[in-house]
């Protein structure tokens, strides 16, 4: 799925690095060359990308939970199969992204441990609950829609493994987005109860989805470096605006009302939305969203309950290696 608010502080522990190499690195970036795992890169570039890619991976994995909440209750076998396949895709994205992060020198286990310890973030959007079946439609339509908006530019990110991962991820996400929208279309053509369900989902997801693009540009701390390194190509507000402009006509098509009565089209043809409640966003990031505790608890439980399985797999692999070695020695 997606991660956000990645351009927050890097800390002040940057190394003073060889100026000539740094200049050479920047020249490669400026020439739109891809940086590959074995290439020299500034420590801060490595750190920024490790954080961004791992947070993106965590988001995919934690993002399995709100949608997974409806797999066993999907209202038809076709919907059930599509949802299970979708959540499986998210897991695949997570694996793929952890592998991309590992090329920067930190193992998946270390990265996962940081997330489980609450020291590494995942997208705040997954701290909201999926209350009805319509939420599965809204998550696909809006959350995946916002994710695509953010991830398409990442396909041209300067770091090769991340950019290539994004190309594949975006293809699947756009399929998910269409699937979600199709659920919404079906609901909007259904009974009054179904229409109300769809409207309620839009009401609850709209503002959190706008927050997915991260803090407003004027409050964003490290966009400059990320932009210079061609990790980030559009600002948070630019992407948010693109998303709003694309989504307003879709809501209209569905006969749904975006929960922002003050929204109006300006002279440039952009939809101007009302002020976002950044206090809510900050509270969710601080761990106070409706589901933060549940999400982390579910991931920790899966991790802890599975410890003996992973241990057994390791023990068996070792035994097998030893037996092979002994057999070879006996030859």
């Amino acid at each position: 799925m997606y991660t956000q608010a990645l351009n927050t502080s890097d800390g002040d522990d940057r190394h003073v690095e060889d100026a000539a190499r740094s200049a050479q690195f920047q020249a490669r970036i400026d020439a739109d060359e891809r940086i590959e795992p074995n290439d020299w890169m500034p420590a801060a570039y490595r750190k920024t990308l490790t954080r961004q890619i791992s947070q993106h991976a965590h988001s995919e994995i934690v993002g399995m939970l709100p949608e997974g909440n409806w797999i066993t209750r999907a209202p038809s076998l076709r919907r059930k199969a599509a949802l299970l396949a979708k959540v499986q895709d998210e897991c695949g994205h997570g694996l793929y992204l952890y592998a991309a992060a590992e090329t920067l020198g930190t193992s998946r286990e270390e990265l996962v441990d940081l997330m489980l310890a609450g020291k590494s973030r995942y997208s705040s959007i997954f701290n909201y609950p999926t209350l009805t079946w319509a939420d599965i439609g809204a998550v696909g339509w809006l959350v995946d829609g916002a994710a695509i908006m953010n991830q398409i530019p990442l396909c041209r990110c300067s770091y090769g493994p991340y950019a290539r991962a994004m190309i594949r991820v975006c293809k699947e996400e756009s399929f998910h987005q269409r699937q979600g929208f199709e659920i919404m279309v079906t609901l909007s053509k259904g009974s009054e109860e179904q229409k109300a369900m769809a409207q309620s989902a839009l009401d609850r997801w709209w503002w959190p989805v706008l927050m997915m693009f991260g803090p407003p540009d004027k409050a964003s701390q490290h966009s400059d470096t990320s932009t210079k390194w061609k990790i980030k190509r559009f600002s948070n507000d630019e992407l948010r605006q693109k998303f709003v402009d694309a989504t307003v006509p879709q809501a209209k098509f569905l006969g749904l009302t975006i929960p922002d009565p003050g929204m109006k089209k300006n002279a440039d043809g952009n939809w101007e939305y009302s002020a976002i409640d950044w206090e809510e966003f900050n509270q969710v990031l601080a761990g106070n969203g409706p589901c933060n505790r549940d999400r982390l608890a579910a991931r920790r439980k899966a991790h802890d309950d599975g410890a003996w399985v992973r241990e057994a797999a390791r023990a068996y692999a070792e035994k097998r290696e030893n037996r092979k070695a002994m057999a070879k020695a006996a030859e």
Partner: protein, 258 residues
């Protein structure tokens, strides 16, 4: 429940097909319960993958049963609007996931059977069932390989994994006999070459599982007492809970399209 269950004309072929469809749906549903909670991400992927295979098999079988029955039922009506007494799946497959060892043992003993079953069914004189069998056999061969590898890892892994795997075999063993049970409704289909007699699958099944269990340093139970009842709708207490979750939407919103 807000919506009444459907009536089904269980002619032998409809009943036979529904039994296999229910097997696939119920096991697929159980596997889907793991999604997001597996011991490792690779297993989240694998369990979802097998769940999807089974869900696909269930849908094809239900659609065929609907066509044969010809009373306007469809895959969703069969899945969502039959009560626990109308479900015809094996007791084994409705057993709760438990820990990963229990899920793998359930998968293993069933896949070892289903792989043989679908391969034999490829010779069915019913072209639809033969086609479903050809697809299902390919999928089940992977389910068997995957679960066999886990049987060995768990059995020959650590003391704890061995203990859990052995416990799961001991607990689930009594549900394996039902796979080979034959009742009167199926005899005519076997005579017509539509269905295959499951009894002849027992020896090769036992050979497969004995080989793996042996390699896994585990043991098969001595007891030969076997539970029956799933094929006639006499289930364990677990199925009702599974169905109340599975069926909650169509039962709550009668007639809605999703």
């Amino acid at each position: 429940m807000a919506v009444a269950s459907i009536q089904v004309s269980e002619t032998p072929l409809v009943l036979y097909t529904l039994r296999r469809a229910d097997d696939a749906l119920i096991l697929g549903h159980r596997l889907s319960e793991w999604c997001g909670h597996a011991p490792m991400m690779e297993e989240d992927m694998a369990l979802a993958n097998m769940g999807l295979d089974l869900l696909g098999q269930a849908r094809e079988l239900y659609s065929y049963a609907a066509k044969v029955e010809g009373r306007g039922n469809d895959e969703d009506k069969f899945a969502y609007l039959r009560d626990v007494r109308q479900y015809r799946n094996l007791l084994l497959l409705e057993q709760p996931n438990g820990d990963f060892a229990r899920t793998m043992v359930r998968q293993f003993v069933y896949a070892a059977f289903a792989d043989l079953y679908w391969r034999a069914m490829m010779q069915s004189s019913d072209p639809t069932l033969a086609a479903i069998a050809a697809k299902s056999e390919k999928e089940t061969a992977y389910h068997l390989r995957h679960s066999s590898e886990w049987m060995v890892r768990l059995g020959d892994g650590t003391e704890e994994s061995h203990r859990r795997a052995q416990g799961a075999i001991d607990d689930l063993w009594a549900y394996t006999g039902e796979m080979f049970h034959l009742d009167d409704s199926e005899r005519g289909l076997i005579d017509a070459g539509i269905a295959i007699g499951p009894a002849k699958l027992h020896a090769p099944w036992l050979k497969t599982i004995s080989g793996v269990v042996n390699e896994a340093t585990l043991a098969l139970p001595k007891s030969d007492w076997m539970q029956q009842g799933g094929r006639d709708g006499r289930h364990s207490e677990h199925l009702g809970h599974l169905l109340s979750e599975l069926q909650s939407m169509p039962r709550t919103f009668p007639g809605a399209t999703w």
